[in-house]
Each structure stands twice: as structure tokens, then as C-alpha cells.
């Protein structure tokens, strides 16, 4: 597992590009990865992408649940207002 390298290294590296840089307002840490990091840094940090996609998925699902609750409320109101339909017997 590779640790983050110094800014000099990253910008001097062959083929280095704009995204291959660090914010100069901060320092590059050199502590060994601990806890969650040991998982997230595997597969060349591909799990970070998985985490991001899952967060987006959870966000969409959260909205689904909210919409669902409102729909259920709507159905309840309709049921209370409208007379019973008899198509349930034939269905």
C-alpha cells in the first residue's frame, strides 16, 4: 500500500497533470493508514469511488422513502374520501 507522496514528487512525476496536485494550504501527512483507511486505500483507492457511489445511491433511496410516505398519505386520504370500489371483488 502506497502512502501519499510529497507535492514535489507528485508534480514532478512524469505524466503528472493538474489533478495530480495537492492544496498548498495544507501539509501532506505521512502517518500510516489506520482504521477505515486500511480498507479505503485498497485496490488503488477504488473503494473510495464505491463509497461515493453508495452515498449517492443512499441519497436517492432516502428521497424514494420520503416520496413513498407522502404517497401513502395521499392514498389514505383518497380512501377516506371516495366511496369503496367494488372492483376488488372481481379482480
Amino acid at each position: 500500500m502506497q502512502l501519499p507522496i510529497t507535492p514535489t514528487d507528485s508534480t514532478d512525476a512524469p505524466g503528472a497533470a493538474v489533478y495530480d496536485s495537492v492544496w498548498v494550504g495544507t501539509e501532506i501527512p505521512d502517518a500510516p493508514p489506520v482504521g477505515l483507511e486500511t480498507v479505503m486505500l485498497q485496490q488503488d483507492k477504488l473503494y473510495v469511488v464505491l463509497a461515493v457511489v453508495l452515498i449517492i445511491w443512499f441519497g436517492v433511496v432516502f428521497f424514494l422513502f420520503r416520496t413513498d410516505r407522502r404517497l401513502a398519505q395521499l392514498e389514505k386520504t383518497i380512501d377516506a374520501r371516495l366511496p369503496e370500489r367494488d372492483d376488488e371483488v372481481t379482480a
Partner: protein, 234 residues
């Protein structure tokens, strides 16, 4: 105030099915296509396909919201107010997702070993401020009971809110040192700072997430209009 109901028929169903397939393809391509390797970011560069379109979707939501706010001011129709409110709501969803995905990306990429989830990157901080400005729109709405007054005052505030967005999200962060690209000049459609293969996925991802915004937004509008119809027929 009148309510004109938009029609959601066969075309709507086809379009939403296309969005679902499109997004599936984007996610697959996002993970499967090989990308050039950079230090530090490594494979997490793929987050470009997912984190960045959140902000495109949020900005689309704010623009749609502002558009209908302006229309409501011109003519106070219920549907304009409903559309403005729901577009802003879905914009908040994507803004919050953009913020959280950015936090996670930075935490496990540039801030390994520091335990820093929030690093006060200018763009990050100002995105948070923008979300607060947008959040105040809903606080304002909930504080006014009379619908017509609520719609009008909220619309005026919303137009103010959307004007702050470009400055907070695009202008100011680029004047400061930031982890985000753009400090060296405009990164938009730059020929040099994005590998060609990544454009193949990135642009469809942006289109896909904006389309996903539209889907969720129109669904919310339909729900809200149905609720209103019931409220009116007490």
C-alpha cells in the same frame, strides 16, 4: 390561482426508462474503463464521474427553480410555485450529496493519516454556505401561511439565492488556493487537464445526473400537485 396539470404519459415513461439505462451504463463505464494513473488520486480519479455531476445537477435545480420563481412573479400560478419549490428541494439533495461525496473523497485521498473530514477548502466551505442560503428558502416558505404571499416572497428570495451561486461556487474559489481545479484558469472544457478517455464517461455522467434530477423533480411535482388537488376538494 389556477393549476394546469402537466401530462405524464407514454413519452415520460420512455424517457425515464432511458435515464435508468443511461445511468447504468455510466456507472459501468465509470468503473470498468481504464484511466491514466496519477499519484495520490490513483483510481479515486473515477469520482470525477460521480462527485462533479452532483454540482451540475444542483445548479440545474437552482436554475429551474429560479426560472419558475421568475414566472411566478410574472403570473401567480400555483404550478410555478410548486415547480420552484420542488426543484429547489431536489437541488438541495444533490448539493448535500456533492458535499458528502467530496468529504469522503478528500478524506481518503488527500487527507490520509490526518483524520480530517472537513478541511476548509474554499470551494467546500462556500458550497456549504450556498446550501445554507438555499436552506433558508425553505425556512422562509414555512414561516408564511398565506399561499400567494408565500409564493411571491419566496420567489424574490430565490432569485437572490441563485445569483449568489456562481460567485460562491465558481468565481471566489478560483481566486484562492484550493484542492479543486480552476485556480490556474478556467478548467471548463480545457483541452489539457482531463484525459480523453475520461471525457467519454464524464460528459454522459453529467447529462445522466441532470436527467436523474429532472426525473426526481418531475415526480415530486406530480406528487405535490396531486396533494393540492385533494386539499382543494375538501
Amino acid at each position: 390561482m389556477s393549476t394546469a396539470r402537466p401530462v405524464y404519459g407514454q413519452a415520460y415513461r420512455v424517457i425515464t426508462a432511458v435515464i435508468a439505462l443511461w445511468m447504468t451504463a455510466v456507472i459501468l463505464a465509470g468503473f470498468l474503463l481504464a484511466i491514466p494513473r496519477l499519484h495520490i488520486v490513483e483510481e479515486s480519479a473515477r469520482n470525477l464521474y460521480f462527485h462533479v455531476p452532483m454540482w451540475f445537477a444542483m445548479m440545474s435545480g437552482m436554475l429551474v427553480s429560479a426560472f419558475y420563481s421568475a414566472r411566478f412573479l410574472a403570473k401567480a400560478r400555483v404550478i410555478y410555485d410548486v415547480r420552484a419549490e420542488q426543484a429547489a428541494l431536489v437541488a438541495v439533495l444533490f448539493g448535500v450529496l456533492g458535499l458528502i461525496t467530496g468529504m469522503v473523497w478528500a478524506r481518503f485521498t488527500w487527507y490520509v493519516g490526518t483524520g480530517k473530514w472537513w478541511n476548509f477548502d474554499p470551494k467546500q466551505s462556500m458550497a456549504a454556505v450556498e446550501l445554507l442560503i438555499l436552506g433558508a428558502y425553505f425556512v422562509l416558505r414555512s414561516s408564511i401561511d398565506e399561499p400567494r404571499r408565500r409564493g411571491r416572497i419566496a420567489a424574490v428570495y430565490n432569485l437572490f439565492a441563485v445569483v449568489t451561486a456562481p460567485f460562491l461556487l465558481y468565481v471566489l474559489p478560483r481566486q484562492m488556493q484550493s484542492l479543486h481545479p480552476g485556480g490556474e484558469g478556467s478548467p471548463a472544457f480545457s483541452q489539457t487537464d482531463l484525459a480523453p478517455i475520461m471525457r467519454v464517461v464524464f460528459y454522459p455522467a453529467v447529462i445522466g445526473f441532470i436527467a436523474l434530477f429532472w426525473w426526481i423533480y418531475t415526480q415530486r411535482v406530480r406528487l405535490r400537485l396531486a396533494e393540492r388537488r385533494l386539499e382543494e376538494t375538501v
